[in-house]
Symmetry: C2
């Protein structure tokens, strides 16, 4: 017999992270299980962007580059992300997008492993990871992509021709969590460099990249920094003096204001910046990091495991007679903060569920994804979401014609 | 005998663009002649970002991708920039930075001219232009950069080995304006493709890129979109079906939500987008474009010519006995909306001038730059700025020790 809603309410009352929910904007009547796609806004986000526009841009105009610290934003903000991924200051730079960060990381990795001509890419990565590697391989010439499916296929793919491996800590579709220490060790033992994509892990639990060579991630999912907020790149200190990437813009120059004709890379992580940071988009990111500074990451993980486990348990009980199959690992140690189910009509099911105020999302061909951002999702939310899903399936709401029509973006 | 301040005030009163000044935030007591570096904020910018955070992100959460048009922002915003550069809808995409846009444009140009292995680059370009081409050349292998100095050197540099030419319409240092029609014609006659950098021209006057192959530009200077606002790329329709650049992210994919393993470029200008747009940074850009829709670009150019000519005249009269030399072309037809002078102590002179409320900027080694954004600079401002410059030089304020110390960013 499943846990009752009243018991869930009691769990919320004793949740040590409960107070953080009040720091986020969430529309009334919405249970938002898409924080793994776009996080909810910190309540301070509006004040942060207003301050940036009025006081920094409007008040100081071009003087903001010095007086408001804009020039150093990619590094000062990177230092604030660093603890979330288990690394130190001077190791993370923020800017552009995850796709662009992958171009930097992989091109730098190839330069560090001359003679090795293979990039191993996990087919379970979010597709853009492979797309940008494809573009890079086509541009560089003489390289090839070796596709694997998850870490299981890695052992057979590693050889002395492999320059680097690009893999995600958490699978965007299934929520499966890879063992980064084991994979990194195996890759490095083969003489290759490890590039991790942390989009679905940083902010879901304490990440530890201290042994990895490179890592990239976005800030608009669990880090709640807003649509299209800038991405980050981590470069291990042991590579910083040698690593050179192909996007050699002026902010990565050793003397950007000397206006020399030729490029000389800056020392340290700064060489992984490219050009003028998107200052406005940094404002909500730093507002969000103000919250993250106060988050106990051990409590975060404990709550995440509890929420996802509860959702699996309740859905399997309430929806036992419908055509749902768990896609995510059952073992919480092997899961991120996301639970996915397969349903042959996943798309209209999700749309019908959203109409009932429970926001999940859909990933082709048939996956329903539910993300549990522990900062603002509670136990009663999980109960209500499972009940709503059961109702949609029982009443066959999803068969309604209006849910069948595809939107451009889901 | 120079025009009097009272006559300048009268010119302001009859200026057909005068009312637009009220649409911008400018601190009291500031004459802001750095709009060619970072434009002033439209008064509507705060409301625009607030609406984006509160109503779009907070109100619709991930639903904003459809309901708020975020997914199409790079193209809908590009269509609004198009008239300012003399091109049509479906030809401009907005995103990332100018540096990244140059990587896209030049890599696409090289693909369109197989067998030609030279990129001609103007040493008068802003340095990042050459830096990113350098990175590209190193990555691709087998290409070389042929440096020229302005269009004068171009004829001797063009040959059947040249794939493309990268040049700026307006020189960031001197304000000299190139004849884009003549240069484009000469480059294309040699079988090469023309890539224009419009950072210092779009928004200063009506640009016409209709014959060019590619163009790039930023939006944070004359377009007033805020620090680090996204850049744009223009691709002539005749190239859109063939051109492929190296930054092949998922937003440039033909079916981004099909999550196919391999990259297939989208039709049209969309293939020049890379990944999730920086949504917040688009908000002030669109607020600014609301103003631009109402600007008569012929009147804009007439006022720009009048302001810059007046500044040259007044400075040369008021400062005749000091060590200032005009760097910008004397012929207004050959100038953008900027006037530069050389002074051996340019850096402390500019800092002393800023302390008197007149904001210009400095570019190494000895150039004082003054930008005249016709939307918010008036004739009396020009008079006051020339008077202040003369005072700083006459009283030798700039010799004060506090002005000699270099700041990280100037």
């Amino acid at each position: 017999m499943a846990i009752s809603r009243a018991e869930c309410v009691a769990l919320d009352a004793s949740d040590p992270l409960r107070h953080l929910r009040d720091e986020f904007v969430l529309p009334d009547g919405t249970i938002y299980l898409v924080g793994n796609s776009l996080g909810a806004p910190p309540k301070t986000a509006v004040a942060a962007v207003t301050r940036t526009v009025e006081q920094e841009w409007g008040g100081r105009l071009v003087g903001g580059w010095n007086a408001s610290g804009w020039y150093d934003l990619p590094l000062t903000t990177g230092d604030r992300i660093a603890p979330l991924i288990g690394v130190g200051p001077g190791q993370v730079a923020v800017g552009e997008s995850t796709s662009v960060a992958i171009v930097k990381a992989v091109s730098a990795a190839l330069g560090l492993r001359p003679g090795r001509r293979v990039i191993v890419s996990d087919l379970d990565n979010f597709p853009t990871d492979r797309y940008v590697v494809e573009g890079l391989v086509r541009a560089l010439g003489g390289y090839e992509i070796r596709d694997v499916s998850g870490p299981g296929g890695l052992a057979g793919a590693l050889g002395d021709d492999v320059a680097c491996v690009l893999m995600s800590e958490v699978d965007y579709r299934t929520g499966a969590r890879n063992d980064t220490a084991a994979v990194t060790g195996m890759v490095q033992a083969a003489g290759a460099l490890m590039v991790w994509d942390l989009c679905h892990s940083a902010g879901a639990f304490q990440v530890d990249m201290s042994a990895a060579d490179f890592a990239v991630g976005c800030t608009y999912k669990y880090l709640n920094a807003g649509p299209g907020a800038p991405a980050y790149i981590y470069v291990h200190p042991r590579h910083q003096a040698e690593a050179e990437h192909i996007l050699t813009g002026w902010h990565g120059h050793a003397a950007p204001f000397a206006f020399e004709p030729g490029f000389r890379p800056a020392e340290g992580i700064r060489r992984f910046t490219v050009s003028t940071p998107h200052v406005l988009s940094f404002a909500p990111l730093n507002a969000s990091l103000d919250i993250w500074e106060r988050v106990d990451l051990t409590a975060l993980r404990a709550k995440s495991v509890a929420l996802t486990s509860l959702f699996v348990e309740l859905v399997e009980e309430f929806c036992a007679s419908y055509d749902l199959a768990l896609v995510s690992p059952r073992d919480p140690e092997r899961r991120g903060s996301q639970v996915s189910f397969r349903h042959p009509d996943g798309y209209p099911v999700i749309r019908a569920l959203i109409d009932r105020g429970v926001h999940g999302d859909f990933r082709a061909p048939d996956v329903l994804r539910f993300g549990f951002a522990p900062l603002y999702i509670g136990y009663a939310d999980v109960h209500d979401a499972a009940v709503a899903l059961a109702e949609v399936l029982r009443e066959e709401h999803w068969r309604d014609e209006r849910y069948q029509r595809r939107l451009a973006v889901t």
